[in-house]
Symmetry: C2
Subunit: 236 residues, 2 copies
């Protein structure tokens, strides 16, 4: 029996569809402006650059910077490498802001409402508070609190994030569950004493593309196919 008081959610990939959301917004640009690019290729490279840019902050190689800043730097470099013509500063800013307004997976909002009736729910994301607030307002995510990396000035998987959010909620680590579609994130949370729920998101990186192997059933406290199943497992 799982008895936790609070659920923390990874956001990008777990709650919202970054790849589908970005590509769909960028497809609209075809009709609106003169920027030609292989958007899926650029978006995938951008996402791959993301953990590396966080890693440079985590190791102290570069000083603290919020995700927008890191994403902007990666995008400029990749647009140059991929020869994307016409991506000026304003367009790059707009692309960075698209991460603030990503669409939820189809069942996310309804499931979060169910979970919220019984648990404290909050994102624990490498996004910053301002990004997560904008995302919540756009997507209608009914969070009880917002934990962005800038509160802790640490990025996941640093323990300061998992332990910091648990402490702010007045909980012991074992009273908190991390919900995420990334086994590495969940492993780090488990090391800090949190309970863990793996959410399968087979479309996160595009159909048929997998970046972390699907975990063995015993590796985490729960394994679900979506947030509605999590709500049902937890009796909501």
């Amino acid at each position: 029996m799982i008895t936790v008081r609070a659920l923390l959610f990874d956001t990008f990939g777990t709650v919202v569809d970054w790849r589908g959301g970005l590509i769909s917004r960028l497809d609209e640009w075809r009709r609106e402006r003169e920027i030609a690019a292989d958007w899926p290729r650029l978006v995938d490279a951008w996402r791959m650059a993301y953990p590396l840019s966080l890693q440079r902050v985590r190791t102290g190689e570069r000083e603290w910077a919020v995700l927008d800043e890191l994403q902007r730097e990666s995008l400029e470099r990749l647009a140059l490498e991929q020869g994307v013509a016409g991506l000026d500063g304003a367009a790059a800013d707009e692309m960075v802001r698209m991460w603030h307004e990503l669409p939820p997976w189809p069942e996310s909002v309804a499931a979060l409402h169910r979970l919220r009736a019984r648990y404290v729910i909050a994102p624990l994301s490498n996004g910053h508070v301002a990004l997560l607030v904008r995302m919540a307002k756009t997507a209608g995510l009914p969070w009880d609190a917002i934990f962005g990396a800038d509160i802790f000035r640490h990025y996941k998987p640093d323990p300061e994030t998992y332990l910091g959010a648990s402490a702010l909620l007045g909980c012991q680590p074992h009273e908190v569950m991390l919900v995420a579609s990334h086994p590495s994130d969940l492993d780090a949370a488990a090391k800090c004493g949190l309970r863990t729920c793996y959410v399968s998101r087979p479309l996160e990186y595009g159909a048929g593309r997998v970046f972390e192997a699907i975990p063995e059933p015993a590796r985490f406290d729960l394994m679900v196919d979506g947030l509605e199943e999590l709500a049902s497992e937890l009796g909501c």
Copy 2:
């Protein structure tokens, strides 16, 4: 014309009725258990002890502690001073937790829903995140984010609170308005560059009792009689 992007709210007194809420809960104890006390007298003394206990943290005289801990210490001392019989540890804990579940002023919830449609809204309170999350869930306060003093490890009126919350929202100080029923809180926010709105709460300390003089009209950007008036002033 006032053009801000976010509104921060003092909570105790501004959004919720701490005195009425505590006294009403304690009155129920008459029927439930064997504790006799002059509850209004104890509650008023408790509230008076509050700024002094924060002050000891602010000056560094004592190390960081969340509000629950400070309130618990004050309560033990005051119960002894006022000769309250029967207030054991469990009852004192329960009284401390009453601050987590205070009732909103009659118009607070509806007005916050109006304001939320146009602005980012969040508490900026000397309560801690766990207290404010519980308060929001109990009272139905539709916050976009929760800023408790424990995020900053500073209590208002320290500038770290006003500037820290503005930065986490990705705002310049002049893009943020503090809404509060306490002129001293608003003065400190204004010194940090925030816009200010004074909310008149004539019943906060009980009918006819005033602890800070009603400010001159020009002292703050706005003066309103409640949060519905604020919503109307801001065109919500």
